[in-house]
């Protein structure tokens, strides 16, 4: 083969390869379009069948099975959870369960693909049964972090929370931290007394302490002992980030008995701690903080000045 032949051969090879790839891409677009239409058709059919009252038929079971294999089932359940309410929603889930949807999703938890397992874990929380609880528990140790934490959250939504110890251990692994922190925040918001216990007895890393405090800030209520603990953290903790997070908790929960801690924090050396103290003073309507707030309206940090102005306005409105 001459040099010229080699060049032409390479050119033809490249052109032929490109044309084949182009044809395959176009074909795959056509097939994708068909698949999308098919999924849409199944979705509509399944939705129609599920919304009708009546016995669970063999045909419904077949459609549910097909919908699961096409990947339509999990998104449909999630979307309906956002749209349907009350009895309509309960009936919808009952019919899905009777048609075998929960069993199919449980079997998907054992699948090879991470996205499929993750979706199944996210959806299963709608089926409140012992079998689904047990299935989700088994996935708490899934090799994929995404699946593991999806299962943990789903279990929590079913009232089957893991222990703080278990999630704190996961949080200590750097890669797990963001997912574990989200779970911890939710747990602390749901079980503030337990979270406060962990703050009391363990010397946790600042990031974990902040996470638990963030959860406490979202909790429905905080008892007096726990509020006093948070107040002492806001005063004594070495990390300014932790002190700031503790002040958010005090401000959110209207813990007036902790006002001394808030007043002390108005003099903190760190500007963002002062910001949170100012916000908390405004929320708690601490009239005695007015002189300090007026002084902070000339603070070197503009954020403190801004928040001090807002807090003073709030106090003035409360006084009026």
């Amino acid at each position: 083969m001459t040099q010229l032949d080699a060049i032409w051969f390479s050119t033809i090879f490249l052109a032929a390869g490109s044309t084949l790839m182009l044809a395959a891409t176009m074909l795959s677009r056509v097939l994708d379009g068909v698949q999308v239409r098919r999924r849409q058709r199944f979705r509509e059919r399944l939705l129609g069948e599920l919304m009708q009252p009546g016995e669970t038929t063999r045909s419904l079971r077949r459609i549910v099975r097909k919908a699961a294999s096409l990947g339509v089932l999990a998104p449909l359940v999630l979307q309906t959870r956002d749209i349907l309410r009350g009895q309509s929603y309960e009936r919808f889930i009952e019919r899905l369960d009777a048609a075998g949807a929960s069993n199919l999703l449980v079997s998907q938890l054992r699948g090879a693909s991470t996205p499929v397992r993750q979706r199944a874990a996210e959806v299963l929380s709608v089926f409140q049964s012992n079998e689904t609880r047990a299935a989700l528990r088994r996935v708490w140790n899934d090799p994929s972090l995404k699946v593991r934490f999806a299962a943990l959250l789903a279990s929590m939504q079913m009232g089957d929370s893991p222990t703080f110890e278990y999630v704190l251990t996961l949080a200590l692994k750097a890669k797990c931290f963001p997912h574990a922190a989200r779970t911890l925040r939710l747990m602390a918001a749901e079980r503030p007394a337990e979270a406060a216990d962990w703050l009391r007895r363990a010397s946790l890393a600042p990031a974990l302490t902040i996470t638990l405090l963030d959860g406490l800030a979202e909790a429905a209520a905080l008892d007096a002992g726990d509020a006093a603990l948070v107040a002492s953290i806001s005063r004594d903790h070495a990390s300014p980030d932790v002190r700031a997070a503790a002040l958010v908790v005090l401000g959110n929960h209207g813990a007036r008995q902790c006002k001394a801690a808030v007043l002390d924090a108005l003099d903190d050396d760190v500007w963002f701690v002062r910001v949170q103290a100012v916000v908390a003073a405004g929320r708690l309507r601490l009239g005695e903080a007015s002189p300090a707030l007026a002084h902070l309206a000339e603070d070197p940090s503009w954020w403190v000045r801004l928040r001090a102005g807002e807090a003073l306005q709030r106090l003035n409105r409360a006084a009026a």
Binding site: I7, W8, T11, M21, L78
Partner: protein
């Protein structure tokens, strides 16, 4: 002898370029297969909304009266738990501020933020009475970097997203681009999303309602170019932790890190690439282990230039920006202390973006000369030309086949065929033209030209 040596040199550069591009495609393909994106927006919200940190969206605008209201509406309508929008009018001389004032009922407020980063004087700060999340800053003209610095000073949230005011973000783009910060908050300092060409798409109320292709050949060829060079290449470099650029049209950054690095450099027209390279440099020098990543699924739609003069100005500016960055951070390329970013990413910039187009142009010129002098036969000339076209076409078609974003939205085999035709046309003139403009950009850099160059826009709603 000299000419032969030059031809050989050009051939080696072109060959290396092709190898780099093929490697990029292979790595991008592996990344797309191993980490498919979640197509359901509802699930993205469910997974990320709780953990998503607040974001300040900063949109610098200069004489953007055609697009500004549409763009700001799109930004305000984004689906994200907590965010603010800061539009910085950089000394606009048209009706940019007036359009926004009437559309969003802007009122003057006192500017009470700290001036940590330097920028030109602020004339006025406005807040919207309709949407409390909207702040508008009207300042003296100082360039895009200067406007971004003003926006950074005013930003209240720990992350900031820079977007061009002539662009439209998809409604869940912020939720998707923030994902790396949720997954690895200790190390990720910047993430970039896909920038797609909006020409030919139908845009209503700040939303892309249907995806199409522009009938304008220049815009069509840029669509292929964006797809190949700006999306798959960036995905590949992100995969090996050596991403040196995040598009100025759409990027998310940690505010504290950027502030500590000194914000955007005002003396360059390539402020986006310069900032990312500086963040890498700072991280490596201080051993911080920071990461810059690219995620393909958040999409920003932008208007591509449709006329030769506008496109030429844009490409010359990009070339100057790349050269300025490479020159000011040349130490990273020369010493071996900057790992993959120094040697590989900046080496790629030098090879593919700076030397490559010149080598290609010179190669064709020399081959034409050799043919004219009778040294090279017409058969050889034709065969080499066909090989170059086939190679360019093969790379572009592979990129089109791999493209995860635009095709999944376009869903038409006809669009794929049109893009492939554009890819072929791109290798038969467009590439050479871009190389020519880059050469002029090089000359401008030598002359220390700092002008941004006027960009004529049709407006997103008329695309």
């Amino acid at each position: 002898m000299i000419i032969e040596g030059l031809v050989l040199g050009c051939a080696i550069v072109v060959f290396l370029q092709v190898i780099v591009q093929l490697l990029e495609l292979c790595i991008a393909a592996q990344a797309l297969l191993s980490d498919p994106s979640e197509p359901e927006p509802g699930l993205v919200w469910r997974r990320s909304a709780d953990a998503a940190p607040p974001i300040s969206v900063i949109a610098p605008a200069f004489n953007e009266e055609a697009n500004i209201v549409e763009s700001v509406r799109s930004l305000l309508g984004l689906r994200y738990p907590q965010f603010e929008v800061i539009v910085v009018s950089d000394g606009s001389t048209d009706a940019t501020i007036d359009r926004m004032t009437s559309a969003f009922d802007l009122r003057r407020v006192s500017s009470n933020f700290e001036r940590v980063l330097n920028h030109e004087d602020i004339q006025c700060v406005y807040r919207s009475t309709i949407n409390p999340n909207l702040t508008v800053i009207d300042k003296t003209n100082g360039g895009k970097a200067d406007a971004l610095n003003a926006g950074l000073n005013a930003a209240r949230h720990p992350l900031f997203c820079c977007v061009d005011a002539d662009s439209v973000l998809e409604f869940d783009a912020l939720l998707r681009i923030v994902q790396p910060f949720v997954d690895d908050p200790l190390h990720v300092v910047a993430s970039g999303g896909s920038v797609c060409v909006a020409n030919g798409c139908s845009i209503q109320g700040g939303r892309v309602v249907s995806v199409g292709l522009s009938p304008n050949p220049l815009a069509l060829m840029q669509t292929v170019e964006y797809l190949r060079a700006f999306q798959l290449a960036r995905l590949a470099w992100s995969r090996i932790d050596a991403l040196a650029i995040i598009s100025g049209a759409f990027g998310l950054f940690r505010r504290d890190i950027v502030m500590s690095a000194g914000g955007y450099k005002r003396e360059t027209v390539g402020e986006d690439i310069e900032l990312v390279v500086r963040l890498h440099r700072q991280s490596i020098e201080k051993g911080l282990g920071h990461r810059v990543v690219f995620v393909p699924d958040p999409v920003c739609w932008t208007e591509a230039p449709e006329t030769m003069p506008t496109l030429a100005r844009q490409r010359m500016r990009w070339q100057r920006g790349a050269l300025e960055t490479l020159f000011s951070h040349r130490r990273m390329l020369i010493t071996g202390a900057y790992g993959r970013v120094g040697r590989l990413a900046l080496g790629r910039l030098l090879l593919v973006d700076l030397i490559g187009p010149f080598a290609e142009m010179m190669g064709w010129l020399l081959l034409a000369l050799l043919w004219a002098w009778g040294v090279l036969s017409a058969q050889y000339f034709l065969a080499l030309f066909a090989l170059a076209v086939a190679l360019g076409f093969a790379i572009s078609v592979t990129a089109i086949a791999l493209q995860p974003i635009e095709l999944s939205r376009a869903r038409s085999a006809g669009d794929v065929a049109v893009l492939a035709a554009a890819a072929l046309a791109e290798t038969l003139g467009y590439r050479q033209l871009v190389g020519f403009w880059r050469f002029f950009g090089f000359l401008q850099w030598l002359r220390k030209d700092t002008a941004w160059g006027a960009m004529t826009r049709r407006g997103l709603s008329s695309l």
